[in-house]
Symmetry: C2
Subunit: 189 residues, 2 copies
């Protein structure tokens, strides 16, 4: 090894004292009345831990972003009656609790693996907000789960992952749900 190579290696080692910051966009199961992390979110998380973080927990920091879709939640409350400002407050409170419940799952898992992490909730359009949060937070990498729908289903369902892979201002990995884990209707997750 000549002097040039030694210098290059030294530079490399000093280039990454900061942990690699991986943003993960996580969501709930889309099956109504099933308030848990979606199969694709869990698959993406476990893949990231097993294949990238591995035994080097201190070298990484996971940033969990959960975007709540206001309309979708309201749809679930179709049979509710809103008679006072408190009813809306209660609805928002319910959303908040569901969101926190979801993030708690991932933060607990990180704690088990001793991986540093942080987690937060935003409300709005997932694909737009994921990209704007990438711009704001500037992670090294964005990981998104995908239900792995065929081209026909995709037209109607739309894929957040495809939008992010194209528009997010950082490298993006899309992790597809394993076929064996898919529920009978692939739109469900």
């Amino acid at each position: 090894m000549d002097k040039g190579e030694t210098r290059e290696r030294g530079e490399m080692a000093s280039q990454s004292p900061e942990p690699t910051r991986i943003m993960m966009a996580v969501n709930e199961s889309s099956i109504k009345g099933y308030p848990h992390a979606s199969i694709s979110s869990r698959t993406a998380f476990e893949w990231t831990v097993a294949k990238l973080v591995r035994s080097n927990a201190a070298g990484f920091r996971l940033l969990f972003l959960h975007v709540q879709v206001p309309d979708e939640d309201a749809f679930e409350d179709m049979d509710s009656i809103y008679a006072s400002p408190e009813d809306f407050h209660n609805m928002n409170e319910k959303d908040r609790i569901r969101g926190l419940h979801l993030l708690e799952y991932f933060v607990k898992r990180c704690h088990q693996y001793e991986i540093p992490c942080e987690a937060w909730i935003k409300k709005g359009d997932p694909k737009e907000l994921i990209c704007s949060e990438v711009k704001r937070v500037q992670p090294d990498l964005l990981v998104v789960g995908s239900r792995g729908l065929g081209p026909f289903k995709r037209v109607f369902v739309g894929t957040v992952s495809e939008f992010c892979a194209k528009h997010a201002e950082c490298p993006v990995i899309t992790i597809k749900r394993k076929p064996a884990d898919a529920p009978p209707d692939p739109v469900d997750d």
Copy 2:
């Protein structure tokens, strides 16, 4: 931490005794007479080492695939005269040496970082061959560099990275060349 959690963690640790196998598709600079690794290949490699492998060299194995395009190489020999079978043999030999020279660059870099690796050459259409090699070799992850062309340039140049992100049977990361590293014409690399 209850018993269930402890068990889950134990399972996780035992899930990845094998290193994470990252396939990297690498190519030469497209500037004629400049037989070196392209800017985007080098950017993708350095990003992978700095952000994913980090200090955990033993946890990863890099698999370098270089696909040579026969037509493109022939184009460079426009002024040559082919008068005997030996001329073609010599041309193939020249291709082989260029390909080996490229792979040598990455294998040497891995050696400096003490990252286990292997490297090989295929001839044909890069996007098709990268996807078929992913199918054959089954890496955990495919990393491809990208010149980060705008939509106008992309129509004429085509992007191997977009095809692979869509069709490769494993997670794919596309690493865009830094704007500061781009040559005057973004098609060059």
